[in-house]
């Protein structure tokens, strides 16, 4: 297990004025790994994603993907380097169909310019067809065939979450960031999504970072878990190690339990 890490985050600190959202967080993600980040609300989990995908710029630290620094690059540039993500509150293009949303995921791979697009002959046409086939593979993979021609704004919530995963997969990512993939889902939808996440890891071999509040899902799926609280890392380890860590229990239940018992 000494393969070079895909992503390395070193000592990142991000502050908005006086509020420190991330305070010296370091971790790395290895090939084929499903790395989970958990923590109470406001712990800075989504901020970590925003730093990796270039939406926020941290004051300190380093973020490297396959040895290349990501800091200071635009979100589009980072996407071109192979980072794809989903959002906590679905950020799909709700007027567009499922197919068009997934085709937007392939945007950076579609190779033709404005003039070719005007004429729609030759390269524009063949590229559109080629990428349409790639998109249909993902539609098959995520079982979205029944919905493919609908505007995504009309689809049920659970399906929209799946479309968002599909759009990220359409980017052919080297690293996938999943922000609460099962938030607000019922049991069936959660189990479906869990199966798709496992499929992505096993069939597509895409390393993933997952932020999630569903502890059962995190503990069952993740290879390693990092716990953060108030932007500060508490511990990182396998699910079993993390569950036994008294600091984690304290972070979730609020304060030092033994200490409070002693007071009472």
């Amino acid at each position: 297990m000494t393969a070079a890490p895909v992503l390395q985050v070193q000592d990142v600190t991000l502050a908005f004025g006086q509020v420190t959202a991330i305070n010296g967080i370091s971790f790395d993600v290895r090939p084929d790994e499903l790395f989970a980040v958990i923590g109470p609300n406001g712990a800075g989990k989504t901020s970590i994603f925003n730093v990796i995908s270039g939406v926020y710029r941290p004051q300190q630290g380093a973020v490297t993907l396959h040895g290349e620094s990501l800091l200071g690059r635009s979100p589009a540039d980072i996407a071109h380097r192979g980072v794809a993500r989903t959002f906590q509150n679905i950020e799909l293009f709700s007027n567009l169909t499922v197919i068009d949303n997934l085709m937007l995921g392939r945007h950076q791979h579609v190779g033709y310019g404005t003039l070719a697009a005007l004429a729609w002959i030759g390269r524009a046409r063949s590229e559109e067809l080629r990428h349409r086939r790639a998109v249909e593979e993902i539609i098959d993979f995520l079982e979205l065939a029944a919905w493919r021609a609908y505007p995504v704004g009309m689809l049920p919530y659970g399906v929209q979450k799946r479309v968002e995963l599909g759009r990220a997969l359409a980017m052919d990512p080297k690293l996938l960031l999943l922000d609460e993939p099962v938030a607000g889902m019922n049991l069936e939808e959660t189990e479906d999504m869990a199966r798709f996440i496992l499929d992505v890891r096993e069939d597509l071999h895409v390393p993933m970072i997952m932020v999630e509040h569903d502890m059962g899902l995190v503990m069952d799926l993740a290879d390693r878990v990092m716990v953060v609280d108030f932007g500060t890392p508490i511990t990182t380890g396998t699910p079993a190690e993390v569950q036994r860590d008294p600091r984690v229990v304290a972070a979730y239940l609020g304060g030092d339990m033994q200490h409070e018992e002693a007071l009472s």
Binding site: S74, A76, I78, F87, F93, S94, L96, Y112, A119
Partner: protein
């Protein structure tokens, strides 16, 4: 691969069929019918109405351009009249008489000055585009409004270019294959110009539809709907806003090059002060009333706006209290101006998808007839 199964027109056996320009049989037949009717229209309609319809065709090119920018890419611009003006003057200068009173280069080849007007206007659009990467929404609208003010001043003061205030200059002469279309012959000027405008509109409408269904059109929609998510998906925001401005101004320039051909003469007043602003607002009205992010809607909206003066002038025969005398109230001129505002508000409130939305509703109704669901 792409075999057609006879009798099953909605069964696609290849992705190419699904992605085709007109992907259903009714669309193919419908568009063909509209084009044929439009081509035969000059033979049946009176010349004064034909002139208005011809203006509608030209305005439709500009409306498609603004729809690419505002409808598809979501960047509100009140400066469209400025780019139309740049196109009008570029075409006039290119086609103008080199020995005339105003500037002229004597390039009479029609496609040359049409495309030249588009290219110069597009270059002006490229210079303005960086503003859009810094500003959005109302701020962008106000700044682009400034273009109309600046442009109006430059056009009025630059007498070599525009002929000067109250004087104006000649519009380009459309000479196709040695025949001047503005001279009556076997067919009248209005008929020949209508056919010229129709050909240009069909070409540019097809190009715009292609943009809409391409990578560029999807990127525009992404920028419009969620710009943060668009960036994270790898869509370069600044680049696509630039492309939107360049394409939109190109269309505006082409529209401008043809807008005064029928009149043969135009002054800088058309692009300065109140008239310049009114022209920009009229283009916004065409997009909103016609249908945001649709090419067919832009065309419908342009026709409605072009015919509005005519519709208003017919009002007194239905509403006896409306007069045609400009010193009495309410007169048709007041009603015409008021109608722009009224139509925009009514459509935004009751049919935000515009005329295209109404058409869509009718189509859906007959698709599912006799069931209402």
């Amino acid at each position: 691969m792409s075999t057609r199964v006879s009798g099953r027109p909605e069964l696609y056996t290849a992705y190419g069929q699904d992605m085709a320009f007109l992907n259903t049989r009714p669309k193919q037949l419908g568009v063909l019918a509209v084009v044929v009717v439009a081509a035969l229209l000059p033979l049946t309609v009176s010349d004064d109405l034909l002139k208005l319809l011809g203006t509608g065709l030209v305005l439709a090119i500009g409306a498609i351009g603004l729809n690419l920018l505002t409808g598809y890419a979501g960047q509100v611009s009140l400066g469209h009249a400025f780019f139309v003006g740049v196109g009008a003057y570029t075409a006039s200068v290119m086609a103008g008489d080199p020995d005339g009173r105003a500037m002229g280069l004597g390039i009479t080849f029609v496609p040359a000055w049409i495309l030249g007007a588009g290219v110069v206007a597009a270059a002006a659009g490229a210079i303005v585009a960086p503003l859009a990467t810094r500003l959005r929404g109302l701020y962008l609208a106000v700044v682009t409004l400034g273009l109309v003010i600046i442009g109006g001043y430059v056009f009025t003061e630059w007498a070599d270019l525009s002929g000067g205030a109250q004087v104006g200059r000649d519009a380009p002469k459309p000479v196709v294959l040695g025949a001047d279309l503005t001279v009556d012959g076997a067919y009248t000027q209005e008929q020949k110009l209508f056919w010229l405008f129709l050909v240009v509109l069909v070409v540019f409408a097809v190009l715009a539809r292609n943009i809409g269904r391409s990578k560029i059109g999807r990127a525009f929609a992404a920028v419009r709907d969620r710009d943060v998510a668009a960036g994270v998906m790898g869509v370069e925001l600044a680049k696509y806003k630039l492309i939107a401005f360049v394409l939109s101004s190109f269309y505006a320039g082409v529209c401008g090059s043809l807008l005064f051909v029928a009149n043969g003469h135009f002054g800088p007043e058309r692009f300065s002060g109140g008239y310049g602003l009114l022209l920009s607002v009229q283009f916004i009205a065409m997009v909103l009333i016609g249908g945001v992010a649709t090419v067919s809607g832009s065309i419908m909206g342009a026709f409605l706006i072009a015919l509005l003066p005519r519709i208003a002038s017919e009002l007194p025969s239905f509403l006896p209290f409306v007069t045609t005398a400009s010193n009495e109230h309410p007169n048709v001129f007041e009603i015409e101006v008021g109608l722009y505002g009224l139509l925009i508000i009514a459509f935004l409130l009751f049919e935000p998808r515009g005329l295209f939305g109404i058409w869509h509703r009718i189509r859906t109704y007959w698709k599912s007839f006799p069931f209402s669901y």
